[in-house]
Symmetry: D2
């Protein structure tokens, strides 16, 4: 009468999440993973959606939960999955985002320029694999997509993977944007495997369609919300300015870890074990705390950008389909230079244009295959009866301009 | 310090529904309206979705609730709505479905052939208007669309009206088909009025898109679910057979009200006050009870069709895009004739083909107008950035065939 | 690569319910079980809570679902449960209410006087056991409590069984009385077995307390709601009157099955196979349909009681702690006799008193045992830190009087 | 046709929250209020409940929302409330928690010893009142309870106030501890005013009982959860140690604001305007960031306590009804001294005992008055039919001991 010990985690979304003792439990306990408790899933989106303070830790644990469900569902449908494959796939999804830094997209465009978080996730996994004596070798293969059974990788990272399935549901839940809610139970119930590739059963077509439309809606109404957009741009710019000043020799208040990344030029080629260890100490608290101190710094750009974020007194932003004329940009820049005696370079920290885009469905990312009742495998766009999905394959691009509010 | 008396109704969906004393309260108390407690909103769909036992009474009260919210929202946005208009619009939405009979679509194809439920709703309203001394005159105008301020009618009956808004949410809730859930609060928050026509504000485009996709999904996965389809066809056929037998002089067990409709030929031209009074006594209980008795009737067709419904031992149904060959139909009919010694006419009660179709969005029903940020009014299909809605304007048609399961 | 076939049922509460193929599936398909689709779980409570149209079918399937969860949870904790025990326990909970008739409590006090629904459930199970060649023998033992492993019976029928766990959650959900909601997942997670008896782990004390308080609240606010109470009393009385008239030789409109019970005196001793077969045809539709016809019957009592229910124009009801004086009762009866020329016997159908009571927690029903962290087994009332539970062991009794509204 | 401008905030709990333009809007925009975005409502409880990252900002806005509902409900019941009273009550509830610092309870026992957060809230309100030219004078009166109409204060701060109503619901929601959920709509619907005091209508007795039981459950299962308890104790101790070291002249890495409170002795008498301005810069980020730096500090106590929190590698904790023997405490302290060569004072940072207690209902806090159907005002404990509430008036006290886990 052996007792299976499991730790239970309360989740507002799934109710209870069971963590089996063993490798998975030990990974969660590791300080590299605990760090994710201090990194919000949605960056500064809480400035728009005050409920959106959920963390990458919570998302990763949520992914773990639905991956367990997905693997059990496939097993119940007769797909053979070994215990080793199961544990490795659970480890892979648990760690898939471990390389995220604070305000990830902002960082990738500032202090760790050009290093994608997936590369860092891989480096973390390799470091953990050493520490755990090779127990993560199969997980890494699955994560990288080099393992023979493709569906395991597709569950971790595909157009209908457990990552997206959890984050759409979770972000919808915490933002209160109920329209983005998706039915994870049904999505999982519709999955199957055909020749070691992930497929969706025909009766799941509407569920997939709903998933894609929900995702598109979340992009335009939440992830690309103009206030989130401007907040993320401001963080990018404040970090760029801080790095610029640091390289000019100005010593800024910052945690040891942040200081390292401000004063060194870290890129994909010199991101070594030491960089990883320092990166493992970076989280939202380093960035926000630094900005709080910078609110009283003498540099105009650093101070004003930091204050804008901390006091939530952001730039104005306009969005339209066509590109903004350079003249419009210049007008705002000149006005700002005149008002505060700034150089054009300094003023351009507050006035800028850019584009946002989203493609709801992409063949090139592998597509979503439907297993028709007659056994044929068809791309979901072809399987859908109305071609309504076809239109989702085109990327939508919009332009924005940001500039300071005119105050009294 | 006058106290406004209101009756509070508990609703699993909206929480509390407040019923103001006065006309609306009296209408709800009327036996014509109480009858709706005995008519399920979704016919026999509970044979597929066992939670779907909600009634037309509950739907009508739900519509009343969100109509109150919608009118208040518009008033808060500066739209002038008089107390008389408000009460009339509430009465119109409350009574919009009062003409539904039990298993409405089945009845319209059998015992009250060719009479649409909207016509009967109107007759009920006129009868009530007499009883209530003309208090419903404006409500009837709004219901018919003859009142000058179009948006009031559009809230009752349009492509984005409070009827659809409630039934999609309610049917999704009670079936457990969470994917059909829509955000009524957000839909209502996006409404506005432009030149007395209902419009949706630009930022509500994704909400509209989500609404249309949810509706499409509910059609194909719920309303046109193959088991619901076959159940509805069976009810239609059992009533046709009963009428056929009655007109041949066979006296069937039936309630007085049902007997009247079985033994008389009621159509749109002879549906008089007497017919209305008898119709007002018909509900699900008459039909189901009759079928229960007919399970032991000597007529093979009547008995077997009734038993199929009562014991939920339905016909087999297949659905495909192309029409079924007549040869296939004939094969099943012949087999049935041979097995039970039936005439071709009798056998055709159990073997038949047909089509189901749905058009998610239709210009001809008035469309949904978007008020752009720049003030222009644009149809939602044009306003949407991806033309993904355009594909929803095409009707999708599918073919089905029903025939008996082959048993032991 | 064998595929486990399961049927999936959508449930608004639990999401998906999986029905394993085999005995359980066949039982659900049986017409005896399908009958439960036509019996509402809460009788006429929908006259107060318009969402409460859920059926005994749905409740039974819900019980099946959480019993599966409970048994799996216990197995995961190391409790050995054989496949045969599992199937039998699932069958027992599935069928535990199969003996309910329409408006069960009303019937037990009128047309099948003195026969408790549990006895009829047992008779149904025995009939099904014959039909299924003895496959239900163990299920029946568990249901009766004669099987050696008590906890299986306690899960079916105890103070914290899966029956109560489902109906509290389900009734709370459908009435919209959110305060009665309980956390089934947590309750199940806290269960364990000690010497073949069901226990709750110590950390589950607050969960049990919450369960008992929720149950008490549901009793007083929902099950014993004064409008539900009067509606149930009216159904009891209309059936009593119908039986009285039938035994006087009056032939009333009624279905064959109902007619049998009106014209025969069925009690616990003569409830034979034939009675069971007839009983298996009785459901809400027989009773409601009959009352609809009786609304135009010449007998004053039968007609007025039926109309009161059908048009929801009920008696007035008052509730207080002390008993009502006989003088008060007589006053109302006399007034009614005078007004309509009724005999005292007839008038007493409309004027009556009675008591309602509820005991939230009862030792005599077996109690709820807590397994303390130190291994000791203690009754929950003793284990609770505040004795707040002790007060729940006292029965609360209230008195009511019903009489006609005085109309214009 | 004047348009009322309102800002809409998405809330996962209430859907939409409308913020009227004007004073309330301006208060929310103020940096003092925006600071609350960086203070979690539940301190380090997210180490147990990973969803519990919601902030005091969100709670305050939630309180605002239900206060609007409560005031409207009372007005609909005929209670006269002036526009000025309404705005002031909304401002009072919005700002009631503005004085909370990060990890409030921990701070009150360490760096701002002996200053209760309500006092600081009052100081903030007075500062804002100056800035807003006296617009908060009435709000402050209501907050302090000095305004003549008591019910306005009781809605802000009483046994059944909007503060508790929101935080119980919100904390239950974000922790996923569904059993603590309460029905805010129903609570509000049951409120009324009698002689300017807040009362609950008789039919709301069960709702109040449910509220009190839910609150008790949340205390024992969430707020006093042993892991939350030990985490809070660790933060208190790490701040005490930091202050101790600072006063010994050790200069610790810390933000300017935190440094101020570590190096100065701030108490209730010297908490002046300057202290307030510095306090207004303190939030969770200062504390967590400092602890992250302290993880590599040379002081054993500071380093190990900080690491325990940051890596979530906490002390062991035991809870029981009786006090722990001093011998037990000493044993752990001695073992620790021996192992790491610590002084007794240092070791006592890691080994300590204490008590936790909760009283679910207290007369001395004002009680909850029930307005009986007969007009009498009765305390809820007397009004309840079972005296089950009486037991909730007794305080429950438990003892705990914390000590290091024994490692490898």
């Amino acid at each position: 009468m052996q007792q299976h010990k499991t730790t239970i985690i309360n989740d507002p979304i799934y109710g209870f999440i069971a963590i089996p003792n063993g490798l998975i439990f030990d990974l969660i306990q590791h300080s590299y993973f605990q760090r994710l408790r201090r990194i919000t899933q949605m960056g500064l989106s809480y400035l728009v959606y005050p409920g959106a303070h959920h963390t990458r830790f919570h998302h990763a644990v949520g992914c773990l939960h639905i991956m367990q469900k997905a693997l059990e569902t496939l097993q119940n449908k007769g797909v053979v999955i070994s215990d080793a494959e199961k544990e490795a796939t659970l480890a892979a999804i648990l760690l898939h985002d471990i390389g995220h830094g604070p305000f990830s997209h902002a960082m990738e465009h500032s202090i760790v320029e050009g290093i994608h978080h997936e590369l860092i996730s891989l480096k973390f996994m390799e470091a953990l694999n050493q520490e755990f004596n090779g127990s993560l070798t199969l997980a890494i293969e699955i994560f990288k997509g080099s393992y023979s059974r493709k569906f395991l990788n597709q569950l971790v990272s595909g157009q209908l993977d457990m990552d997206r399935t959890d984050y759409l549901k979770r972000d919808s839940f915490y933002t209160g944007m109920a329209e983005g809610n998706i039915n994870t139970d049904r999505i999982i119930a519709m999955l199957n495997v055909h020749e070691d590739e992930l497929v969706v059963e025909e009766k799941g077509i509407y569920t997939v369609e709903k998933f894609l439309v929900a995702r598109r809606l979340m992009y335009w109404q939440v992830y690309l919300h103009k206030t989130s957009l401007v907040a993320e741009q401001l963080v990018t710019r404040v970090l760029k300015r801080a790095k610029e000043l640091s390289h000019q020799g100005v010593r800024l208040p910052a945690s040891k870890a942040l200081d390292h990344f401000l004063t060194h030029k870290i890129n994909a080629t010199n991101f070594d074990t030491n960089a990883l260890k320092t990166f493992a100490k970076l989280d939202d608290y380093d960035i926000i705390s630094a900005m709080k101190e910078w609110c009283s710094h003498e540099d105009f750009v650093l101070r004003e950008l930091s204050t804008a974020i901390i006091d939530r007194d952001l730039l104005k932003v306009k969005i339209k389909n066509k590109a903004f004329a350079k003249a419009k940009l210049d007008k705002h820049i000149n006005a700002l230079q005149d008002k505060y005696g700034l150089s054009q370079h300094e003023a351009s920290y507050f006035v800028f244009t850019g584009t946002i885009s989203n493609q709801a469905y992409s063949y090139t990312q592998g597509g979503i295959n439907i297993k028709m009742a007659n056994g044929k495998i068809v791309d979901v766009v072809k399987a859908s009866d109305q071609l309504s999905l076809k239109s989702l394959t085109r990327a939508v691009v919009k332009n924005y301009i940001c500039f300071p509010k005119s105050k009294g």
